[in-house]
């Protein structure tokens, strides 16, 4: 039977933070993907036992290569393996990229509001990257993008240098909200994202932005409710829940 499982080769690993790693995979025959999609990864033990988990694609390149960034959950089954064990040259079974809903459409001229909790920044990074390489004269390429990224502390931020670089564009705004540990010398203390900060920093409902929220289920739930209360249309809000991984905003 023909199923969607393909063998991918790990062609590079980069430590993103002390607890997260980016894996670069080559999927032979892949001809790009849409920004925001995910893959399913299947691990098989010697006795045939398997475990499947989903991981968003972080990259936005046209060819056979994709990047995933995995955050380790210490007592998890799959993520510690991907963060510590997998090495360049290893093979992994991958299904996808799949999912045509939580994706940014480069033909859509709408302003875009991205809201990430922790590792939820991964698919939103793919959207920022796709936006950065889009023709600046095109509908999507000329759309304003804002990222609100809620993260434990400065050391937990993914893609730091690249985010700073992207934020130089007049079309792109990046706001980091530190929930537990503020950077040294920061004027404001670390605290959870709240409705007031969200509405102050996000694009207003009046702009009718396309909104993408991604992170732990409790985070996504809370933020989506706040946005609806602030007048955003539920139709314009797309969500990707990663599961009950703890962390509230």
């Amino acid at each position: 039977m023909r199923t969607g499982w393909n063998v991918a080769e790990v062609i590079g690993v980069t430590q993103e933070t002390t607890t997260a790693r980016t894996l670069r995979l080559r999927l032979p025959g892949l001809t790009g993907h849409r920004a925001g999609q995910h893959v399913d990864i299947r691990l098989t033990a010697p006795d045939g036992y398997t475990a499947v988990r989903s991981y968003s694609v972080a990259s936005a390149r046209p060819g056979e290569e994709i990047d995933l960034t995995v955050e380790e959950l210490t007592d998890g089954e799959v993520s510690p393996y991907l963060v510590h064990q997998v090495a360049a040259g290893d093979q992994l079974e991958v299904r996808g990229p799949v999912g045509g809903w939580f994706v940014w459409d480069p033909a859509d001229p709408s302003p875009v509001q991205l809201i990430a909790g922790g590792s939820g920044v991964v698919p939103l990074m793919a959207m920022l990257r796709a936006h950065a390489v889009a023709d600046p004269a095109s509908a999507g390429g000329s759309a304003p993008f804002r990222l609100l990224y809620s993260v434990r502390g400065p050391a937990a931020v993914y893609y730091r240098a690249e985010l700073d670089e992207l934020a130089r564009s007049p079309l792109v705004d990046v706001t980091l909200v530190y929930t537990r540990e503020a950077p040294a010398g920061s004027p404001s203390p670390a605290r959870r994202l709240d409705a007031a900060t969200l509405t102050a920093r996000a694009l207003p409902a009046a702009d009718n932005p396309a909104v993408f929220i991604c992170g732990a289920t409790a985070f996504v739930e809370t933020v989506a409710d706040w946005l609806v209360q602030a007048g955003h249309s539920p139709e314009r809000i797309k969500t990707e829940r990663y599961g009950g991984m703890g962390a509230k905003p």
Partner: protein, 103 residues
């Protein structure tokens, strides 16, 4: 614990992989109608309960089951009787073929 259990669901979008074994196009972008309450929305917006014995998609309106999928290794079993129709838009993402393994 009780509360966290209630929050233990994902978006229907996360079912895209398992459903790609059945459908040649990305079916989570398709609109489906709940056979129970009639709510019609993209399957990606339904609630997915993954930690259950199989994959369950529930209607966010009435919480009834739209779709069930059980993977027993040798076979995959899909029950769609909670959906009274599914509509695909050809010119949107819904018509994007799922990636296929190279021959």
């Amino acid at each position: 614990m009780t509360d966290s259990a209630d929050l233990d669901y994902l978006d229907g979008n996360a079912a895209a992989g398992p459903l790609s074994e059945f459908f040649a196009v990305d079916v989570v972008s398709a609109r489906g109608r709940c056979a129970h309450c009639g709510r019609t929305a993209a399957l990606a917006t339904a609630r997915l309960y993954p930690s259950s014995h199989g994959l369950l998609l529930r209607c966010p309106g009435c919480t009834e089951i739209l779709l069930r999928l059980v993977d027993s290794g040798d076979s995959v079993c899909l029950d769609l009787h909670g959906l009274s129709f599914v509509e695909l838009h050809r010119d949107e993402g819904g018509s994007q073929p799922n990636p296929q393994p190279p021959a």
